[in-house]
Amino acid sequence: MPLPLSYTWRNLLARRLSSGLTFLVVAVVVFVLSVLLSFAAGMQASLKAANSPVNIVVLKAGASAESTSIIWDDEVTPLAQTPGVATNESGGQLLSRELSVQAPVPRRTDLSRKANVPVRGVDDIAFGVHPEVRITEGRSFVQGQMEAIVGRAARGRFANLEIGDQIALGRQVNRLFRIVGVFEANGSALESEIWAPRTVLTDSYRRTFASSVHLRLSAPSAMPAALDYVNGPSVQLRGKREGEYYEDLNKKTREIVYLASILIGIMSVGAAFAVANTMYAAVDARRREIAMLRTIGFARRSVISIFMIESVLLTAIACAAGLTCAAYLGGMKQDYLSDKTWTVFAFELKMTPQILAICFAVATTVGVIGAVAPAGRAARTRILDALRKA
């Protein structure tokens, strides 16, 4: 029979400052860990890469994502000379200028919280360049009209994106676009987007540039020559195979996750030391109590488990607090990130059961490891020495 939980709990409260600091440290570690993991999970979900062997994504040199790339009209002109670009039935070159912006849209799960959804302005030719994009409900927008279509994933996640709904896109409040259709794109990142006519959107956002140019080649074999040209001296832009573009974004995510993991590893070690410190203080303050428990028949391992339970209870509560904060601030975090490179996609901080499990495992491990040495000291308490008057 273990000691009552109130014993553990009140002992933690009895050393409020020490327990509180350790609580804070562990909660911060769990917070950072869970945000990182949900960030990675969210990215993974939204980066189910479009990976066409004949598509090239062209960005401003130095930009790593469409949302941070600015391409002026005169920079686009030389791209028309790219060798191997395919044409459609009517002879149009499959070259698509696209504008990437964002619009705040309320979430389905919590209407009061808006997240930035990526919005892409495209000409009709874009449907030739991205043939995986198919209208599944309603119809496509008409150029020049204030109309928009929404990706399936975006509609699933955000509110007010049904056909017939109106959505404000752009700087002016009265710029309401009517949603006329829903599209799929083989489950790729594009499905997290809203699409609208480029010229109308450019006007709405008062932009005078595009974000990216997408080229579709006639055959994969044309890729090397086309890339040579795009990245050659006649074009001041930078082109990548579509798959490579997403891989690079993914790689950046992985790099961030990797670096952050090291940081979290170091933080966890620090947290374990904080736990150890707190538990040493607890053990030293309760030497007599330990001796009394041993006197009346509690075994060494019972003493060990007393401090283990105390430590793990502390870290588990801290873990719950860290996770709660992460869940709470999840939305804010994303909105903040939305202006940065990463938010080309409508990814969300995804709190999965695995992430919860990992966080609790890390917190528990920190609690156990931190308590090993102090609990060992407690178990070695010499009864008679400890019982003697001060």
């Binding site: 006197t295 009346i296 009864i383 008679l384 008057k389």
Partner: protein, 238 residues
């Protein structure tokens, strides 16, 4: 449980302090009958606590034998002694050693957590023990809400809640005023006469010694005198 005999034969206890050997008990022989109330007196440092610790299984003799009932303590491992203590001995100390974050009832319940016992059964035993020491109405008080005398009563309840064979008390009234001491001693006396507990008590207070049935004087590890009280102070119901 019926009262058990205690038998110490040729008990030596030597402490090693650095390269010095301190012989605290030197070939001590002592028999205490079941149901007795033995009081040990003697100057400070004479080995009284050491003797109690040996009888209570908190320490092992350097040589010689310590038998309590059927248990030969000198042959038992530390682990066995720990388990044995939980079942057979109740300890009462000068400092009450209550757990400050637990209520009186929870403190008394502590030793029962080592037994296979339903919580209803534990509750019943705790209430009985607290009733015997006269603190049933203070069950939910924490130690810092109790007086010293009340704390010692809770400690006594904790010592008797497992229904041990032997109660070992080391200066149980050392920190208490005369009136409270008398109450505690009357309580011990009651436990001895009504509940047939063997008690060994160390004290410096000659008045306290009067409550025992047998008085032992220990000096420099040797039993100097051994007197039997024909008329010990009679227990008064508290």
């Amino acid at each position: 449980m019926s009262a058990v005999d205690i038998d110490l034969r040729l008990v030596r206890k030597v402490y090693h302090k650095g390269r010095m050997n301190i012989t605290v008990l030197d070939g001590l022989d002592l028999s205490i009958e079941g149901g007795d109330f033995a009081v040990i007196m003697g100057p400070s440092g004479s080995g009284k606590s050491t003797l109690l610790h040996l009888v209570g299984g908190l320490d092992s003799p350097t040589s010689g034998s310590v038998r309590v009932g059927d248990a030969h303590l000198e042959r038992m491992s530390e682990r066995e002694l720990t388990a044995w203590r939980s079942r057979h001995v109740g300890f009462i100390f000068q400092m009450y050693h209550l757990v400050p974050v637990l209520t009186a009832a929870q403190n008394v319940e502590l030793p029962l957590l080592l037994f296979r016992m339903s919580s209803a059964e534990r509750r019943k035993r705790v209430e009985t023990a607290l009733e015997i020491v006269g603190l049933k109405d203070r069950m939910d008080h924490r130690p810092n809400q109790l007086s010293g005398g009340q704390e010692q009563r809770v400690a006594i309840a904790r010592a008797i809640v497992t229904d041990p064979d032997v109660i070992v008390a080391d200066e149980p009234t050392g920190d208490l005023d005369a009136k409270t001491s008398t109450e505690i001693l009357q309580l011990l006396s009651l436990l001895n006469s009504e509940f047939r507990k063997s008690i060994i008590m160390v004290t410096h207070d000659p008045r306290a010694a009067g409550f025992g049935k047998r008085l032992l004087h220990l000096d420099k590890g040797v039993l100097e005198r051994d007197e039997r009280h024909t008329h010990p102070v009679q227990p008064v119901a508290v």
